[in-house]
Symmetry: D3
Subunit: 105 residues, 6 copies
């Protein structure tokens, strides 16, 4: 789908897509921490697709379930109980990621 968007050759959109790679790259803050920041920001803004994306990255980076739940708890506290339906889907998806990993071993 990104290909379709990039194919349109809209400079502003193309650059925003590039920035996404830049912003989460290893820098003065390590990329694992940045993904936790991305995850929490996505949860408080209540975007399921964005939560999934950053949760995948957190899982890849080796974040433990206990750590992920601490990110979840901060986001739910800051964002309020309105975040809970997204939390439920996030917990579900993290379990799925764990299962996929087990099946690949």
């Amino acid at each position: 789908m990104n290909e379709k968007i990039l194919a349109q050759d809209n400079k502003v959109l193309k650059r925003i897509f590039n920035l996404d790679t830049n912003a989460f790259a290893e820098g003065h803050i390590d990329s694992k921490t940045k993904e936790m920041i991305g995850l929490a920001s996505s949860m408080v803004l209540r975007c399921d697709d964005c939560v999934k994306y950053h949760l995948g990255k957190c899982h890849e980076a080796g974040l433990t379930k206990e750590q992920v739940f601490e990110v979840f708890s901060i986001a739910t506290l800051i964002g309020g109980s309105i975040v809970i339906p997204h939390l439920r889907r996030a917990v579900d998806y993290f379990e799925e990621l764990d299962n996929q990993k087990l099946n690949n071993v």
Copy 2:
């Protein structure tokens, strides 16, 4: 001001205030990382008072200017240019925190 709120003895509010301390305490994630998460979440939700609070905590925890700016950049990318006025005030406040520290040496 918190005293006034707690004095009212509303159990739900009291517990939310307590949770705030719990959620950001050292745990499976260190508290410095948690404050960065709190800072980014506050920025994307565009709450100046909350940004100031977590920026103060980040400063205390020894986060460098380069690191703080990386948190700022993630939050501004995720939250969009609507975050920029809050970013300006945050940059201003971080400078103020630096100056206070210098004056105290």
Copy 3:
């Protein structure tokens, strides 16, 4: 699904879940009124799952269709026409709750 979240034994999340029960319990304000408040807050924040939850509680508490529509109208006025897609799904769900009740008689 809540069981999975609670099983993880994250203190902050567990307490937020408990608070939910506390906040909507009969108190200085009756629980029927509290559910109307929960319904309107969920609508202006545009969370379908939360709207469904509180709409179910309002229905159980005996709120009439006319009353529910007055809550809907306040939420749509405050939250704007961006709320309308959620309003549509809410009206649909309330009708479903009415039908379920009729079938159970």
Copy 4:
């Protein structure tokens, strides 16, 4: 200020202003309950001016401090700790309203 807006004779804005009066009028739900709904909705959407407006109406309608705090607690739970700075200003303003009333007796 409303006069200036209404003077412009923009039909849509004029009608939105009129709707505000209609939506909160005594109906199938009493206006006191409606003001509590307006207060909570304003808090979760984090609009200080709107909170003040509905808090004034709640105070006029004779809502007690205990009742107002229950509305506050639901709004803070649903909307999250990001609501707390607005809660502080709301508590302050409710106290002010109480003092004004005492001085007028």
Copy 5:
């Protein structure tokens, strides 16, 4: 579905529905521009149904793909990368509208 809502005869909701027609009608600003405004506002508020609605109207009004992408780029810049999942669905839907038109020729 609108019929069900209007059938309920809630004056506030009925008027909000009417205002929708009024606000986007040809006026001091032409209706094509108004639909672009409606599209961008729907995107920054991240409402897929509203985006689809205004995108359909923009397509009807003859907005080109290049123009629609410029509206998308402004909305994504202002609203941030959190808008991207909605952008993807919007691009998909605009393509669908184009295909429907071709098939009808």
Copy 6:
């Protein structure tokens, strides 16, 4: 203040600032229309500083009071009555811009 932010040499932030110029430049859509889009988006997201910025640009571009009020009415309808305090400040600021212009003649 932008200078301070740009001086920090954070690539992501610098590019977001550049994008702002790009996105609103004359293109397949004229810049006057783009500023109306920016104004409405800022209003529904309820950012006073952003509203002021785009209102200034709209004024410069020669938008009439009637046109500006039509943008306001769309934004207030979509975003809801929660937008009204920002509308008031916007009307005030537009008047100020008009007065400045008269004084400069």
